[in-house]
């Protein structure tokens, strides 16, 4: 299990006004996923495509004996696909575990809650971005994980 990097170890002590996100890069975007939603980060394992499913679902993979669906965030958000993903972030959603392909891991980003601004943009992409925040790495978009997974489940 050498490819698994436990996130918990990087997690510093919690300060009440600071929220923690895992910053990931996706094409040119910097996206933050709430740290408490993240189970593990894994290398891109073999993904088996599931016929008859939408293009948002890349397939399923075997994560320690468990079958986990892998989602393409780029497809869902309508981004171009020029960079090869190198990691899979496994999220814990209310509909079960889900892997998300990401280009690179930027690291844990701590944002004071007053720096979180509601997303000013509208549209399909923006429906999944609850907030934006200025960080040391640039503007980070905060992903609404449950909403993302919810929309996939409802499409079925």
């Amino acid at each position: 299990m050498a490819e698994i990097v436990p996130v918990g170890e990087v997690k510093p002590e919690k300060v009440s006004e600071v929220e923690e996100f895992l910053g990931i890069s996706l094409e040119k975007e910097l996206i933050g996923m709430p740290l408490k939603k993240i189970l593990t980060i894994s290398k891109v394992l073999e993904i088996v495509k599931v016929p008859y499913t939408s293009s948002f679902i890349v397939g399923v993979m075997n994560l320690r004996g468990e079958i986990i669906p892998v989602l393409s965030l780029k497809q869902i958000l309508g981004l171009s696909e020029t960079t090869e993903p190198t990691r899979i972030v496994v999220l814990d959603s209310k509909h079960g575990k889900a892997g998300v392909l990401v280009d690179n891991i930027v690291g844990v980003v701590r944002v004071p809650s007053e720096r979180l601004e509601p997303n000013p943009m509208v549209g399909r992409y923006s429906a999944y971005v609850s907030h934006v925040a200025q960080t040391e790495y640039g503007l980070m978009e905060i992903l609404d994980v449950d909403r993302l997974v919810d929309s996939l489940v409802k499409e079925e």
């Binding site: 073999e46 088996v48 599931v50 016929p51 008859y52 499913t53 468990e66």
Partner: protein, 628 residues
Amino acid sequence: MISDEMREIFNEFVVEAEENLQKVEENLLELEKDPQNEELLNATFRAMHTLKGGAGFLGLKAIVDVAHAAEDVLGKLRSGELTLTPEINDAILEAVDFIRSAIERYEAGEEVETPEDLVNKLRSLEQGEVKEEKAQGEESIDELLDRFGFSHLKGKPIEEILEELILLPPDERPSELIEALDRIVAKGEASQETAEKEEEKAIQPTEETVEEKREEVKAGELKKEERKPAPKTEGEKVVRIDVHKIESLMNLVGELVLERNRLLRIFQKLYDEYQSKTVDELETVISSLDRIVGDLQLAVMKTRMQPVKRLFQKFPRVVRDLARMLGKEVELVLEGEDAEMDKTVLEKLEEPLIHLIRNAVDHGIEPPDERERAGKPRKGIVKLSAYYHGDRIFIEVYDDGRGIDVEKVKRKALEKGIISPDRAEKMTEKDVLFLIFHPGFSTKEQTSEVSGRGVGMDVVMNTVSAFRGTIDIETEKGKGTRIVLSFPLTVGIIRSLLVSVDGKLFAIPIHSVLEIIQGEDAEITTVSGKEVLILRELTIPLINLGEALEMGGGKVGYVIVSQVGSQKVAFTVEDLFGDEEVVVKPLGKIIGEVQGISGATITGDGKVVLILDLDGILKREMRSITFV
């Protein structure tokens, strides 16, 4: 409302109450045949009494009131002051139904009012009055239909309405309405009798009622003695376990099985590469580990198994009600009730079995006069049995009725355009019989718009294929019909054929595979632009599995002939990799149910392999053909 601290007790009460209600129901049906059976009367009384006690403890007043009234009637039956009549039976069954629905409503946190009508009815029955129900302001059929939201059934003959209602899924079936209609039907038959009784009653002097009151007091005293706790016949041999705990146990064992397979594979390699004493020792350990894992798997499976009795005991009531309203005489024989099968399958079987039994009573069994003319006993027999054979369990519904008219089925299928005249000629009798499972097929002259007739049999087929079951049907004109369902005993683990398509591995459940033909030996031609396989003069539709799975077509290495639902279909695959036991894992909520893919498994070397559902793939193919 049920407070949180009472929840646990309440949940226990629910389980226990259901057991007691089942017992009451079962016994009453039995008592109809043997009204003097004291043992049964005692058992019924006790069951109702226990139920009342439990409800009283939890303060479920509506249930206490009804159970109390019913218990009093049962008490008098037991002491011989009353004799069991169909009216009393109906009223107690009604009480059973009410208590069931009341429990559900309490469970949902609703308040339940005591149904005064029912309590009064039970009280007056207890007083020995056989009253016409008109007194309680009887509703007409139309009013009843309106009240329960079945206005569209208005104007139909009552038998037909009842049929429609009985066809509804069990949880939507308005039992109250059925009861009410049933009573109207029953009353039609009994009205003459009661009129006579009523007359007789009028002549009796009123003193008798006083006498009865006194008797009642005595009965009450007797009852007090009875209230000592009944000695427990069985110690604590049964433990109730949360299903989720068993599920997680199942998952763990499933994973253990996969790891074992992996270990066996690695060991095989090791064994081929090295020969030494240590490897031999390892072999002994591994083979006993293999055996233990197998036994463990079986043992865990068994915890999910439940006797089919749980399901079967619902049917005497269905048959009784149906026979009564259709004016038929039917005896339901149950066999092999102790056979056990997986809980999930068992639960899903209720609806299909109701369809099969309803069909047997309605279409199979002839009316008594017709049976007499045909030289058969007036009373028809419907037999529901369960038995094991190999690693499968069989459930059989048999009736000694008129059998299925094969020619009529064929005619109907032609009329409906389900089959072409050419095909009709070539079909064997069995092929024709399977047409009754075709969606939308019905031999009845009129089909209704409401879910119901004609839709029934394909429900059976769908359930059967969902649980990798098979179905067989035998019929003889004038003699009867036998429909046999079979299901694998183990649900979580299936033996599968591993195949490759466009370089990717897939698993096909082996129970649906009939035979495998080498690609070069297969006789393939086209019919109206579609490929078909010619196999011993049979023409079988051929599906390129690669194309069907929206992947590359690839070369045809093998052709797999399979039985999908009621028909044979052939699939081309690239290569075969033998068979393996696989643990079915769901794809998860995010992907959801995918028609054509029943799940995934992880092979011994850690690869994810999708398990194909050929039935679903075929349905997809058929849909794409009709829409093109």
